[in-house]
């Protein structure tokens, strides 16, 4: 397995996202002092033939915990920070964010740009227990959604249903929201412990995965939430992020405090496909490339961003 590596000295990785426009480009947010104190950095990285090169980076006065690319403009992205702000960045030329929106009263831990046609919205999830939906200029929040009784760690738009996003929270629930009616459509007590991440299947509008402090990934069919479709066991510490593959309908990846990234096929009896152990600290950021089938990027508190294609996925292709 060929692994390309980028090191961000004294910056500990929190999130990575592959560009939807430029095949070899990723954005990464990393924070000083493990995100507990100090600054954050937003990095734009390009995969080259020999490694990973830094295209641009910006410093922010507080930790940065999540990042999302615009679905409308290849140069634009949004990051969420420890100071409760969302910042709109432009890779083209600016040294400072185009816009800073500070409405959340605590850490913003999740930002996501909607992918459904005819819609161009940003959702943010915060430790202030609210999720906010924003227009693409971040001028002001369009709506604030309350209901979670714990911090929100993850907010992700449905790739199929307009105006619909999922959120995962420290209160142990996965919630499905409808922005038009400003309502929580479903509240699923998905785990007995905190849920740190969720993601939608790209091929089936009813499938959502959750990753929890209980070390399990659960795959849910929203039409019947009494029990999960599958429970994926193997991680030995809390799961920090889950992501569905954009190329295979039943494949997903998860990264964890146990220093590993694991790949799963939830339709199988033996769902674990592979365990990648190439970090020496908590792995917090994870994404699939949208252009290169089965290519993965991850980042960890060990200062490393790694791009690779796991053997279990490359074998069949």
């Amino acid at each position: 397995m060929m692994v390309k590596v980028f090191r961000s000295p004294a910056r500990h990785g929190y999130a990575v996202e592959a560009s939807p426009f430029i095949p070899n480009r990723v954005a990464c947010t990393a924070s000083q002092y493990y995100g507990i104190a100090g600054c954050g950095t937003l990095l734009i990285l390009d995969e080259t033939e020999t490694g990973i090169s830094l295209v641009r980076s910006w410093e922010w006065g507080d930790g940065l915990f999540d990042v999302t690319w615009s679905e409308a403009n290849e140069h634009v992205l949004v990051a969420g920070g420890g100071d409760g702000s969302l910042q709109l960045w432009d890779t083209a030329n600016h040294s400072a964010p185009l816009r800073v929106a500070k409405e959340h009263t605590q850490e913003v831990y999740a930002v996501d740009w909607s992918q459904t046609r005819g819609e161009n919205l940003i959702v943010s999830g915060s430790w202030d227990q609210t999720a906010k939906v924003w227009d693409p200029a971040l001028s002001q929040s369009l709506i604030t959604l309350r209901g979670h009784e714990g911090v929100i760690y993850s907010t992700i738009w449905s790739p199929h249903i307009p105006g619909c996003f999922a959120s995962a929270s420290g209160d142990g629930t996965l919630r499905i929201w409808d922005v038009k009616s400003a309502m929580c459509r479903l509240a699923i007590p998905a785990h007995k412990t905190e849920i740190l991440s969720c993601d939608w299947c790209k091929y089936d509008q009813n499938i959502v995965a959750t990753g929890s402090v209980d070390c399990s990934v659960c795959v849910w069919d929203l039409r019947n939430v009494r029990q999960p479709v599958n429970q994926l066991l193997g991680h030995t510490y809390a799961i920090r992020r889950v992501k569905f593959s954009p190329f295979s309908n039943t494949v997903l990846a998860s990264c964890s405090y146990d220093f590993t990234v694991r790949f799963w096929d939830y339709s199988r009896n033996q769902p674990l496909l592979d365990t990648v152990e190439h970090h020496s600290e908590f792995v917090c950021g994870l994404d699939f490339s949208l252009h290169i089938p089965n290519q993965v990027v991850d980042c960890s508190w060990d200062e490393m961003v790694k791009i690779y294609t796991p053997a279990c996925l490359s074998a069949g292709s």
């Binding site: 507990i36 930790g63 605590q106 405090y257 146990d258």
Partner: protein, 631 residues
């Protein structure tokens, strides 16, 4: 802190199905009490053999200088050492007699044992690995690893007594190939051109010259006062504190002109080979638990090591095999390493190893290597450890380093060490502040500040003595013995115990008594001498009951007066320094003292009492007595 608490929650409430793996990860992340840690290390200058400053100095004297300096620096009595191991190559029997003599010259007690080790060019590193092995096996808790060589007084050459059958076995015969020829073999077989070798040699000289100019070696070198017989055969006393092999004027043209030294059409020259030198180095090593129990600092942690065999006729490739083996043991890759100290026996083999392993050249010997500094055989491995850790320390963060070298007769050795993650006792108590800073060029930058900047580690008594009185011509109060003018803030969360416990908050300490008193305004500095007894009385305690006194050092004069007046043992006063070193941001100081006090008491790890006190302008004194209930 909210973020820390939440993230910790993710870890602690894991209901893991496999505790074994969890423990492995937890062990990996935590620092183990069984770790072999480096405490402190020093070296002598490295000087040219037969011409340099140590040409008339015996190796026992060089060794004694570093052994003594390492223990004196950290205030450790030699009787705490479980063993002493010294790398040496050229003395008869690897200097077994010489090191015991050195041991007594250093004032070490007879009860402490010492031995030598000879693994040729790696002897100094092997000494460290031997001591580490003894610590791991539980035989000793603490040991001193050294290396020493006088190439002025003993020369290479006598091969000892060998069987004539050695000519019948190829590999055995290869063992007596001169080192220079093994360098030619590496250059020829792996295509390392003369140009590459000379360029590498030039860069070694330039890096060493730069390091010397910037004073980067000053901290690591122990000055040695010794005799020196000059050109006119007159014996003089000299103090040697500078490497004398470095040639700042080296040019590529000059190097290109040198004749091959070992064979007529060869590429190895005197300019791209290591120098023949004298020197010594010592490293204090211990088990983390023992080191912490003795209150010694942790400089670094040994993470892995390997010694491997390679063909004797290309012995120089040793590091290319040993480094990956040591890294594998440490669970690290080349990319994880910040600094490689690879001994430059010859530029040919050093370049080969660096290229073979794909190490970025800027990570290799950042302060030059044996081509510029010299290669006192038995000393080199220990010298590299010293130089490595001083470099890692300057980088000021957790970092990994590798020390490696080739070994005549065909071997390679390597060790991987990490600079300790948390050297700073203040690191836990200081909140990093990200703020703007307008620099000298009037440019505004964003900086994150997490370090006190008033501390002057280079302070000497002589320097302080020279300062003029600051307030009256015949006075004794100077800028150096008064508190500094500073900026800062501190905060302490306080509550009634019942409320604190109801909220599930931890109890760090308990306020036991306090007093504010009045004293004559013209000698306001005596305030603590009156306030402390009053506060102690309220707490029902005496001076003897108190473990740590944080007495604000407005001026050394008043602080000394109060300490003497109350009969407080000096080692209990401001164990981490006071306002003279740290500064005295007026409104902040009292709270800052409480923060520093509790962090110190917490480190002591048991129930303890502390006092915070200060004098107050216009004639008052304040004091408070705290109890730390233990962990």
């Amino acid at each position: 802190m909210h973020r820390l608490k939440l993230v910790s929650g993710h870890l602690s409430s894991s209901s893991s199905p496999d505790r074994r793996t969890v423990n492995r990860a937890a062990c990996k992340a935590a620092c183990s009490l069984q770790d072999v840690v480096l405490v402190h290390c020093r070296r002598t200058a490295v000087c040219r053999a037969k011409r340099g400053s140590f040409k008339d100095t015996t190796p026992d004297e060089l060794l004694s200088a570093v052994m003594t300096a390492v223990l004196t620096d950290v205030g450790l009595s030699p009787d705490k050492l479980g063993d002493v191991c010294v790398g040496n190559v050229l003395q008869p029997g690897a200097g077994a007699l010489m090191v015991r003599v050195s041991h007594f010259l250093s004032g070490f007690p007879e009860s402490v044992p010492v031995y030598t080790v000879n693994r040729q060019c790696s002897s100094g590193l092997q000494a460290l690995l031997n001591i580490a092995g003894a610590i791991r096996s539980g035989s000793i808790d603490l040991g001193l690893a050294c290396g020493v060589e006088s190439m002025s007084l003993q020369s290479m050459g006598n091969p000892g007594d060998l069987s004539s059958r050695l000519m019948d076995v190829d590999k055995a015969r290869d063992c007596i190939i001169p080192m220079g020829i093994t360098s030619e073999n590496v250059a020829e077989r792996f295509g390392i051109s003369r140009e590459k070798q000379d360029a590498f040699a030039l860069s070694s000289q330039q890096k060493a010259a730069r390091a010397q100019n910037l004073g980067l070696f000053d901290q690591e070198i122990v000055p040695v006062t010794t005799k020196f017989v000059d050109n006119e055969d007159k014996e003089r006393q000299v103090t040697v504190a500078k490497d004398d092999g470095i040639r700042p004027g080296t040019t590529l043209a000059g190097l290109n002109k040198l004749r091959p030294a070992f064979k007529p059409d060869g590429s190895t020259t005197a300019g791209n080979s290591s120098q023949v030198s004298d020197g010594a180095a010592a490293v204090l090593v211990g088990r983390r638990s023992a080191v912490e129990a003795l209150g010694l600092p942790v400089l670094g942690v040994l993470r892995g090591s390997a010694v491997v065999g390679v063909p004797p006729d290309v012995m120089g490739i040793g590091p290319a095999v040993a480094i990956p083996a040591a890294l594998q043991q440490a669970g690290l890759t080349i990319d994880d390493i910040d600094v490689f100290e690879i001994n430059e026996a010859f530029a040919s083999q050093a370049v080969y190893c660096v290229e073979k392993l794909g190490i970025p050249m800027e990570k290799v010997n950042p302060n030059g290597g044996a081509i510029a500094l010299g290669h006192p055989l038995g000393c080199t491995g220990a010298r590299q450890v010293v130089t490595l850790f001083n470099e890692l320390r300057r980088r000021g963060r957790r970092a990994y380093g590798v020390v490696s070298m080739c070994i005549g007769t065909g071997m390679g050795a390597a060790a991987v060490a990490a600079r300790a993650q948390n050297l700073g006792l203040f690191d836990q108590e200081i909140v990093p502040v990200t703020t703007k800073f307008v620099d000298k060029e009037d440019k505004e930058r964003q900086v994150t500040v997490a370090k006190d900047d008033g501390i002057r580690p280079g302070t000497t008594l002589a320097g302080l003595n020279k300062l003029r009185p600051a307030f009256k011509p015949d006075g004794s109060t100077t800028a150096g013995n008064s508190s500094q003018v500073s900026d800062g803030a501190a905060a302490v969360l306080v509550g009634r115990r019942s409320a604190v416990e109801a909220l599930g908050l931890p109890v760090l300490g308990v306020l036991r008594g306090s007093a504010v008193v009045g004293v004559p305004p013209d000698v306001m500095g005596i305030g603590p001498a009156v306030a402390i007894p009053a506060a102690l009385q309220q707490a029902g305690l005496t001076v003897d009951d108190i473990d740590v006194f944080e007495i604000n050092e407005a001026f050394a004069s008043q602080a000394v007066y109060c300490v003497e007046k109350l009969g407080i043992p000096m080692e209990k006063v401001n164990p981490n320094g006071g306002a003279i070193a740290l500064g005295h941001p007026l409104g902040c100081t009292g709270a800052r003292q409480v923060v520093t006090l509790f962090n110190e008491l917490r480190r002591r790890g048991r129930r303890a009492y502390g006092v915070v006190s200060m004098c107050i302008g216009t004639g008052m004194g304040a004091a408070a007595v705290f109890e730390y209930p233990g962990p």
